[in-house]
């Protein structure tokens, strides 16, 4: 079974989103926003004294997909051209790159449905384990970049991120671009070497590279020069790369500290309505719709997708 978790629009719903810790990276925003959205749906269900106040009452199942909460497709207030819609897709560690094409389509499709639009202006992709390092960059040393490319810098020990799989993923995005679904493509946390390598093998060039420079303005010269040369806009972000670790998600959905979508662990408790199995995050997508000429963020939210795996299947996975 697949879980599609959503924060709904987090602007204006306030507290969970902008509350402390405000300075932390936006992993806290995602988890707090999911939690708060679940909580408010549960409260509403309880308040309306529906016969069934479990998550079933505010989620929807379509085939093998469970939407929690049910997709809110109220859309945007003004016509499409008034908005700048940016979507950032986070690929997660532990997920095989072969699934990325399908994940990209799923994620974009959800955003389009949520916002009731047929295209987005910019898609930024974030690959697991790729973190821009200003020092590596300034040394202008092929080796350090090569070292991080080999996946050694990925602390979670996830999949090895190589140029080939990135290019393959990019090719999928190019077809979405060709179809007019995505106007511009972008990347996150790419240094100049990695960018250069990618540029050699792509048809639709990235127009944006997003790097995390919140605390210091020491963007290395080589990157600035390279980006200018290649017409790539350097944007800032404040997201962490491993945005939804399995443990965090398990806690959010679990019966004790979470919303109770998952059943308690152990096999003897049959009284619970919760789902059984191990939950494995697949991808996260963040979207923002900004009214262009007013600088107002009208809609911002996240979707997170997770696989719920049969415990027995998991056992066999782990044993191999």
């Amino acid at each position: 079974m697949k879980l599609i978790l959503s924060t709904s629009n987090i602007m204006g719903s306030g507290p969970s989103v902008v509350r402390r810790p405000l300075v932390s990276k936006s992993n806290a925003e995602l988890t707090a926003a999911l939690r708060s959205n679940f909580d408010s749906h549960r409260e509403q269900a309880v308040a309306s004294s529906a016969p069934d106040s479990t998550f079933r009452s505010w989620s929807a199942q379509e085939g093998d997909k469970l939407y929690a909460p049910t997709l809110d497709t109220s859309g945007l207030a003004e016509e499409r051209s008034a908005y700048d819609i940016t979507v950032k897709l986070f690929y997660l560690p532990h997920v095989p790159p072969s699934k990325r094409c399908q994940h990209a389509k799923e994620a974009i499709d959800l955003v389009l449905r949520e916002l009731r639009v047929s295209s987005i202006d910019l898609l930024i992709v974030s690959f697991p384990g790729i973190a821009f390092d200003a020092e590596d960059e300034s040394e202008e040393d092929e080796h350090s970049d090569a070292a991080s490319l080999s996946g050694l810098s990925d602390p979670t020990g996830g999949v090895i991120e190589d140029t080939n799989s990135i290019v393959q993923t990019w090719n999928t995005l190019e077809t979405l671009h060709d179809a007019g679904t995505i106007a511009r493509l972008g990347l996150s946390e790419f240094g100049s070497h990695r960018l250069a390598r990618l540029l050699q093998s792509v048809r639709v060039r990235p127009s944006v590279d997003q790097i995390n420079v919140r605390d210091c303005c020491v963007v290395p010269k080589p990157l600035i020069i390279f980006a200018k040369q290649e017409g790539i806009e350097l944007l800032t972000h404040n997201d962490c790369t491993d945005i939804l670790p399995p443990g965090t998600l398990r806690e959010l959905l679990g019966p004790e500290k979470g919303i109770g979508i998952l059943a308690p662990s152990g096999c003897c408790n049959n009284s619970s309505d919760g789902l059984r199995g191990d939950v494995i995050p697949q991808w996260v997508v963040k979207y923002t719709a900004v009214v262009k000429d007013r600088g107002v963020v009208e809609n911002k939210g996240y979707f997170a997708a997770a696989e719920l795996q049969d415990p027995r299947a998991l056992v066999s996975l782990l044993s191999c």
């Binding site: 602007m11 204006g12 719903s13 306030g14 507290p15 989103v17 902008v18 509350r19 402390r20 405000l22 300075v23 936006s26 925003e29 003004e78 008034a82 700048d84 940016t86 910019l122 944006v208 790097i211 420079v213 919140r214 303005c217 963007v219 600035i224 806009e233 350097l234 944007l235 800032t236 972000h237 404040n238 923002t288 900004v290 000429d293 007013r294 600088g295 107002v296 963020v297 009208e298 911002k300």
Partner: protein, 661 residues
């Protein structure tokens, strides 16, 4: 200041006789605007800043600095600058050269003081983040252009007040004091812009009051300050005008610095920002939500520690301007029983806001002032003309005042395509916010002006505060924030902001939770302004608490009872910036601006007021007696003038303006 109409101004009390007519015609013009523009929609976010300068003249040999009264000559020089005109700039009021649609070069305007200049960008700013990077260079350009049209010894300075304004020999050229218009014993009539509007404004305010304006600022008591302090510059033996009796009747208060003319207030320089909203509803919301921020930003930009050659015990200009244009009669002030006037009026025409104007369901009736003075007849006319109750109340409140400057030529026929009578009242109500309807004849939308901030010494600081406020408006709209608190508390906060070092030493009433109650919350069912208490919401008193400026700007760890505290305006701005695409270069520049404000608020950096006070007190010629002498003033102004060129001096590192700024 608005455009300067030419005509024959009526003296008081002739102008008084026409007051009702002007008000009624002004209301009809407002209704015409309302009919034309109430449905105006989807206007872009445009904004503009206004920078005001003092023009000073250095005498390096004599180690003196004086105010230059050559405003007219300088404006003429600017108006005749071919290059400036070609690029769409210049001086629109002097109307030379063709008006160009594509304004790029800065624009210069006259101001009340003949020693003042105002400069605005040639066209409004947008919200594109790269636009924000142009603001500081443009402010520097304005300063450079202004300087290029002055004598070598003259400089444009961005200080709220000239430290020794009103002391002997403070202007060049010098003129005798005690003229017929101001009747001031400290300042000559020539201190005011000679355009007939300005002396008439000053004279009619004085005439309406029945005496001179009266400005008493508490003096700062230093180690050698004589105590009780009796302002030694007051002349009790002057007998030129009936108003010379004012001081013999006790106008000059003990332990205060006494001033007696409009120029002491209206000669102050401010930093004002105007925002265009997408429609009237958004404008009204912004007006309300920015209102509670007014006193906070006043305290944070404090830059006025010196008046008439003495250290004051306050740090900001606001109340002095308020008193300098206070035209209330003794009856209106409550000093005499009402006999000729219509009502008691608790505030000057220059004062903090007295009401909210939005139809926001979160506006609880308890936030409003039940005693708000309004003109019920004019309100009824506005309501009959289609305005909703709360907006009609706002204008019926502004229109309790008399028009001060009335031109005979304008009283012939009512022209509903013009707004002159409406603007006559609207623009002489100097509240800390101003709600501005779309002007006729172009596509400008509904606007809100944020007026409390003090001008800062450097363009870096002025850009930082301007852009901070711009970002705050985007934050308010994006997160749908709620800063409402009772308007009476905003008024109290305005007083608190005056205290010496209020930014570090005082606490302000502020709303604890800017997010609630959530949209669509059933909470406030009753219509705003309906005067009944709101059911099912906690008492209004529980919604707000006392906070320091640091807590309001940088956030609270928790609210003291374990719940999350106020998140802080800067963290909110950062959250907003996380949600939009900002390029690296812009983000770094914005971070510098936010850092200045963050550190001014937490006390690591000083306000301009604190720095100037310290500069005076450490000066070798200062005797610890609160007197800011000529040489101290000269050195202070030399430093202020030199900061932009990177020169250093005592304590400047505490101002946070060195380095790249």
């Amino acid at each position: 200041m608005g455009l300067l109409a030419i005509g024959t101004p009526l003296d008081w009390p002739e102008a008084k006789k026409e007051a009702s007519k002007v008000r009624e015609w002004g209301i009809e013009q407002l209704l015409a605007i309302w009919r034309r523009a109430k449905g105006k929609e989807r206007d872009a976010m445009l904004w503009g800043d206004e920078i005001e300068y003092l023009v000073v003249c250095f005498d390096d040999q004599g180690r003196r600095v004086r105010l230059s009264l050559r405003q007219a000559d300088i404006l003429t020089a600017l108006a005749e600058d071919e290059k400036l005109l070609r690029e769409g700039g210049g001086v629109p009021d002097l109307q030379r050269g063709d008006a160009r649609p594509e304004h790029v070069a800065p624009v210069f305007h006259p101001e009340f003081g003949r020693f003042m200049l105002e400069a605005t960008p040639g066209k409004p700013w947008g919200i594109g983040f790269k636009d924000l990077l142009d603001v500081e260079p443009n402010m520097k350009l304005r300063r450079r252009i202004a300087k290029e049209h002055m004598h070598a010894t003259e400089f444009p300075i961005t200080l709220t007040t000239f430290p020794r304004l009103g002391c002997a020999d403070c202007t060049t050229p010098a003129y005798p004091v005690s003229g017929p218009k101001l009747r001031s014993q400290f300042l000559p009539d020539e201190i005011a812009n000679p355009h007939i509007r300005f002396p008439t404004l000053a004279a009619n305010i004085r005439a309406r009051r029945g005496r001179k304006v009266e400005i008493n600022v508490p003096v700062f008591r230093d180690v050698n300050t004589p105590w009780p302090f009796k302002d030694p510059t007051v002349n009790y033996d002057l007998h030129n005008w009936p108003e010379d009796d004012d001081v013999r009747n006790g106008a000059a208060k003990e332990n205060h610095i006494y001033m007696d003319a409009m120029a002491f207030g209206m000669g102050s320089c401010c930093l004002q920002i105007t925002f265009q909203s997408k429609n009237i509803e958004e404008g009204r919301k912004m007006y309300d939500q920015l209102s509670p921020l007014g006193p906070i930003m006043l305290a944070l930009t404090a830059a006025t520690p010196i008046y008439k050659g003495f250290l004051a015990d306050t740090d900001v200009r606001w109340n002095q301007i308020s008193r300098a244009v206070d035209d209330r009669t003794a009856e209106e002030l409550g000093e005499k029983p009402l006999a000729h006037d219509r009502w008691r009026i608790p505030k000057s025409r220059y004062a903090s806001n007295s009401t909210y104007i939005s139809q926001d369901p979160r506006l609880r009736p308890e936030y409003l002032d039940p005693e708000l003075v309004i003109d019920p007849v004019l309100k009824a006319r506005l309501v009959a003309g289609g305005l909703d109750d709360i907006l009609a109340t706002h204008f019926a409140h502004l229109f309790i005042r008399d028009p001060i400057v009335v031109f005979a030529e304008d009283l012939q026929t009512l022209d509903l395509s013009k707004t002159d009578h409406f603007e006559n009242l609207q623009s002489t109500n100097w509240q800390h916010m101003r709600f501005k309807p779309p002007p006729p004849g172009n596509d400008t939308g509904w606007r809100v002006e944020f007026r409390p901030m003090e001008i800062q010494i450097t363009d870096f600081e002025n850009a930082a505060f301007s852009i901070f406020m711009v970002l705050i408006t985007r934050v308010i709209l994006s997160f749908d924030l709620n800063f409402y608190l009772p308007i009476a508390r905003v008024t109290e906060n305005m007083e608190t902001a005056h205290r010496r070092d209020a930014v570090s030493e005082q606490r302000f009433y502020f709303r604890k939770d800017p997010f609630g109650p959530a949209r669509g919350h059933p909470g406030s069912g009753s219509a705003p302004g309906s005067g009944t208490a709101t059911p099912s919401l906690p008492p209004v008193e529980d919604e707000y608490t006392l906070m320091t400026v640091n807590e309001i700007i940088n956030g609270q760890a928790d609210d003291g009872s374990g719940r999350p505290g106020f998140p802080g305006l800067i963290p909110l701005v950062e959250s907003y910036l996380d949600s939009v695409n900002v390029d690296v270069e812009t983000m770094c520049q914005l971070a510098r601006y936010l850092d200045l404000i963050r550190r001014r608020a937490d006390g690591r950096l000083w306000t301009g007021a604190k720095w100037m006070r310290g500069f005076v007190q450490q000066h070798e010629k200062y005797k610890g007696d609160s007197v800011v002498g000529e040489e101290v003033e000269y050195d202070l102004m030399r430093v202020v003038e030199g900061i932009g060129r990177g020169e250093t001096a005592w304590g400047l590192e505490k101002l946070g303006v060195l380095g790249k700024g």
